[in-house]
């Protein structure tokens, strides 16, 4: 591999519907994402070759790059007015170092979720302990976990076997028991797997990859049971002790097997794998990587969400203090496999209930009509809302999909179970699955949204509004979106070991990918109509002077860009908390974003019922897009 610094990078993401390509080039001293092309994914008939869609997307990139280098913005570039060429002889063209033509790229990389992504089943011994750790390893590697089986999951052994047979996963991960335990239960789980004679989803007649990451003392017996009938890999125990999780070896093995087995079975991937300069990564795995890197680099608590057509992924990295007082950052990913905006949109209706969706629709509507519209979106998933009414309905559904996915995430993102912990009296009384979550909304610094409904909302103010309504941030939180959904490509780029790649990923993430939407101020407390909630004092750059008490049940927006840093004095009313405790004032310098500053005095917890008096009137009052004037039709993207 060359040690020369890369100048031109092409990255694709092969999604289930669309293949997206981006071009990143070094412009002066910095890397920038210049153009983006897309084309339908071609994994299915009649093409059955993923590389066709990749080449189509890159050819669009070629045309758009050629146009870009004709503009004044590129006047100082060596490629000014030169045609760009990235495809030749049905291949991604590489740069010839001897020529200065502008043809070809230095590296080409890709992520993929086409064909349903990586689908896994995981096994553990105890549901809340080793099975949960196994689930975390699979999710962290970018898989969709079809089911998690454990000794105590309430199902009888034959029911488990039926389940293994019915699901046909791409891969199985077995964990269980710490290394100190006498091997027994984990062997029982392996025996169940053997009895089921599982077959892989793709490719009849090839052995199903099984990863064993359980009790090391059981490895020999596991080999005896599974080696003959499956493609068995053995890695170190992912829960060697109750106090320790060691997910990396299992996650790395999942990535390797994804490339070696699963991708080999998907149409055209054998060819694509030869083209790329780094292993193809499952899309959500790559998104998780970049979110985690940003959290670590900026030392922030971050939540990221990617809402797609079929699934919604939620990622979080939060600072945690261990027993010795050391602070480390804990990453978690969850995937809500059937919460999405097209293929799974009817399932959002099913899980959230019609009333919960209707409560966000800012006009009265016939329920049967709404059900039919949702059903028709499911069966024609690539359509887009043409009318404002249709857009409002889609954004109402998205609020529920995001809300439900986040509830699942918070319930999953907890500390390791099975460890003795000292709890205070208030913690002991706090019940409910999210009460133990490490995702503490008051401590959240940055909330990043991604996926069509958030990244491509006609107005950025609508994206910010959806994020506030569904995640209900508390205290002071930055809101952002992925401008054109390029986090997957940047994630895989950040892992490439070539000079310039990591820098390119970080610079492009900061300058082109992340759109800072707003800073939100959301006091926590019970909001009562007419009562004061917070006093915000600040001199905004547009001349607006804030110094009034703001009463309950308001959602307000003011202009404040990310380039302006303004000192704020925020004083919550008695009974309200903004981060320092009830009634305690904060003085802090804050930056805004393209949407500005959002003040939400609707209180926390906030729950809008469908039968809320004047619901439509309230939703229209809270519409922060009414007075929002974008600087350009893409808010500067």
């Amino acid at each position: 591999m060359s040690n020369q610094e890369v100048q031109t990078i092409i990255a694709t993401d092969c999604g289930s519907t669309t293949t997206k390509a981006i071009l990143i080039e070094k412009v002066g001293n910095e890397y920038r994402q210049l153009v983006r092309g897309e084309a339908p994914t071609t994994v299915e008939a009649p093409f059955e070759d993923v590389t066709k869609g990749v080449l189509n997307a890159i050819m669009e990139l070629e045309e758009l790059a050629t146009e870009y280098y004709k503009t004044d913005a590129a006047k100082n570039s060596k490629f000014y007015n030169k045609p760009r060429k990235f495809v030749e002889n049905e291949q991604v063209l590489r740069k010839d170092p001897a020529k200065e033509t502008g043809d070809g790229c230095d590296i080409y990389i890709s992520t993929s979720s086409a064909g349903g992504g990586l689908q896994m089943m995981v096994f553990g011994v105890v549901k809340g302990m080793t099975a949960e750790s196994a689930q975390r390893a699979a999710l962290g590697a970018g898989a969709i976990v079809m089911d998690t089986l454990a000794i105590n999951d309430g199902r009888l052994p034959h029911e488990k076997i039926e389940r293994i047979r019915a699901l046909r996963p791409d891969m199985i991960l077995i964990a269980g028991e710490t290394d100190q335990a006498k091997p027994k239960h984990v062997i029982g789980m392996a025996e169940l797997v053997k009895s089921a004679r599982p077959t892989a989803r793709l490719g009849l007649g090839y052995a199903l990859p099984v990863i064993y990451a359980g009790n090391q003392r059981a490895q020999e017996e596991i080999k005896n049971i599974l080696e003959k009938d499956t493609a068995l890999s053995i890695v170190p125990n992912l829960r060697p002790t109750l106090e320790k999780e060691n997910l990396r070896p299992a996650s790395d093995k999942i990535h390797d097997l994804f490339m070696e087995h699963v991708m080999q079975q998907a149409p055209g991937y054998d060819k694509l794998m030869k083209w790329t300069d780094a292993p193809i990564m499952p899309t959500p795995g790559a998104v998780g990587l970049i979110i985690n890197k940003i959290a670590v680099m900026q030392n922030k608590n971050v939540v990221g969400v990617d809402i797609g057509g079929a699934t919604t992924d939620v990622f979080s990295t939060f600072k945690l203090e261990d027993r010795d007082g050391k602070v480390h950052q804990k990453f978690n990913r969850t995937v809500s496999a059937n919460l999405g905006m097209s293929y799974s949109v009817s399932n959002v209706l099913l899980e959230a209930g019609l009333d919960n969706i209707m409560r966000w629709v800012p006009f009265e509507m016939n329920e049967q009509e709404l059900r039919n519209r949702i059903g028709n979106k499911m069966i024609r998933p690539t359509t887009i809302p043409q009318s404002k009414e249709d857009l409002d309905i889609e954004q109402a559904i998205s609020r529920e999909a995001l809300r439900l996915s986040f509830i699942q995430h918070r319930a999953f993102a907890v500390g390791l179970k099975g460890i003795q912990q000292e709890k205070g009296i208030s913690e002991a009384f706090a019940s409910g699955s999210t009460s133990d979550s490490i995702v503490n909304m008051m401590k959240l610094d940055l909330l990043v949204g991604s996926g069509g409904v958030l990244s491509h909302a006609p107005l950025r103010s609508q994206s910010a509004h959806m994020l506030v309504d569904s995640f209900l941030p508390e205290g002071i939180t930055e809101l952002a979106v992925d401008s054109i959904f390029m986090m997957p490509q940047l994630g895989v780029l950040s892992e490439v070991k070539r000079p310039g790649c990591d820098q390119a990923a970080m610079e492009v993430f900061d300058k082109d990918c992340l759109i800072h939407l707003a800073i939100s101020i959301c006091p926590v407390g019970i909001a009562k109509d007419g009562k004061n909630v917070v006093r915000v004092k600040a001199d905004l750059p547009d001349g607006t002077k804030l110094n009034e008490w703001i009463t309950a049940n308001q959602l307000l927006r003011y202009d404040l860009s990310h380039d302006d840093e303004v000192e704020f004095e925020i004083e919550p009313a008695a009974g309200f908390d903004i981060g320092e405790g009830k009634g305690k004032k904060i003085v802090k310098k804050l930056k805004g974003g393209v949407v500005g500053l959002i003040i939400d005095t609707r209180g926390r917890p906030f729950n809008l019922a469908k039968d809320t008096k004047n619901r439509v009137e309230l939703l229209q009052k809270w519409d922060i897009s009414k007075n929002y004037k974008p600087k350009s039709h893409r808010d500067g993207v």
Binding site: N347, G375, N376, M378, I379
Partner: protein, 374 residues
């Protein structure tokens, strides 16, 4: 420029149809390449593993350690056992107070574990056969997996369906594509038939059709809410085909009251009395699969070829159908395809087309039309 193209549903009067008929597991292919066979012919068979019964026999016998089980087993791995037959016996106390464990099923012992004390009994394998599904010729044998059948005739794709593969003679119940079929139009003589409705079939009419024993129902629209009445549960994700509802339901246009496309209705009417092979299986995500209607015939028709839109993209003059509000269900034709992005009412900037609908020129996002394939 890459094509902004939404694949349409196929409505072909005569086309070459190939159907891959594969077993779920490796097995035996029963026909040969070149064989001309009717739809009901079994083309391949295999055996699915029987139900598994994992039993902790060590525990049942009250053994102190799981590894004592091996010495107590009267049968070993691979042995065939009868329901009630003693398969393991504890050593007892000085030869007395022995406990027995009897086989819970007729089957085979596949595993005896000295670590967990578990014995796994396998019930006999379940035979599985697949038929040809369409009248036609075996084009290709896929060794140990199945065959590819080839035939010619009508090929219509629906938008969503319920229920799996079935066959029946086509019977028109509606006399026009916009007709709603109600309970009074469902009669006993429709038993075993594939019935064709117009813009909708009412829930009570569908229930009666199911009771009479129709083989299939083809309709333009159907209310989404009524799916719950058929399945007993809402349809969350569009992966269908395994519903056990006694018949196969195919919607050609979508949810709501939507007239069946004229061309689809006319084609089905033309072949009334012919045998149709239909399948409601739908999978919209990852490997798009739409429900289908196949009518095998050798008539000469006006359109034996169809344009490959996937290769050429949309063109001026192409017939289209709008698949999203505010023009949902309307038919029209492409007037122009501007290259630049346009802002639509929702505020979204998208690639659009100018289309003629009901004699008026309107702007529609390209993503919201589907080409009517011939």
């Amino acid at each position: 420029m890459a094509h902004a193209y939404t694949p349409g549903l196929k409505v072909a009067a005569r086309t070459v149809i190939e159907k891959t008929r594969k077993l779920p597991l490796l097995g035996q292919v029963l026909v040969k390449k070149g064989d001309k066979i009717p739809a009901q012919t079994i083309v391949a068979k295999t055996e699915l593993p029987g139900k598994v019964y994992p039993i902790n026999v060590a525990g049942q016998l009250g053994l102190g350690k799981a590894n004592e089980l091996i010495d107590c087993m009267l049968k070993k791995e691979g042995d065939v056992v009868k329901n009630g037959e003693i398969v393991a016996q504890s050593k007892g106390f000085f030869g007395f107070f022995k406990s027995d464990y009897k086989a819970p099923i007729d089957g085979t012992i596949t595993q005896v574990s000295h670590i967990t004390g578990q014995v796994i009994f396998n019930a006999p394998a379940i035979p599985v056969e697949i038929d040809a599904y369409v009248d036609g010729e075996v084009k290709e044998e896929i060794p140990s997996e199945g065959v590819v059948m080839k035939t010619e005739g009508v090929h219509i794709q629906g938008i969503i369906g319920l229920g799996g593969e079935t066959c029946g003679v086509i019977k028109m119940v509606a006399d026009a594509p916009d007709k709603i079929v109600d309970i009074g139009m469902i009669t006993e003589e429709l038993k075993g038939k594939v019935i064709v409705c117009g813009s909708k079939i009412t829930t009570d009419a569908l229930a009666k059709a199911g009771k009479i024993g129709v083989a299939g129902v083809i309709t333009g629209g159907f209310d989404y809410q009524d799916i719950k009445d058929i399945l007993g549960t809402d349809l969350g994700v569009a992966i269908t085909g395994h519903e056990d509802i006694g018949y196969t339901l195919i919607l050609t246009e979508g949810f709501g009251t939507i007239p069946m496309a004229d061309r689809t209705f006319k084609l089905l009417k033309k072949y009334e009395g012919f045998k149709a092979s239909i399948n409601g299986a739908t999978q919209i995500r990852a490997g798009v699969m739409r429900p289908e209607i196949i009518v095998v015939h050798d008539h000469q028709t006006e359109d034996t070829t169809h344009k490959n839109y996937a290769q050429s993209g949309l063109e001026k003059g192409d017939q289209i159908r709008i698949i999203r509000a505010p023009y949902f269900g309307k038919l029209g034709k492409v007037i122009s395809l501007p290259v630049e992005l346009h802002k639509v009412e929702s505020g979204t900037w998208v690639r659009v087309m100018m289309a003629e609908i009901d004699g008026k020129e309107v702007l529609v996002p390209r993503a919201n039309v589907e080409v009517i394939e011939k």
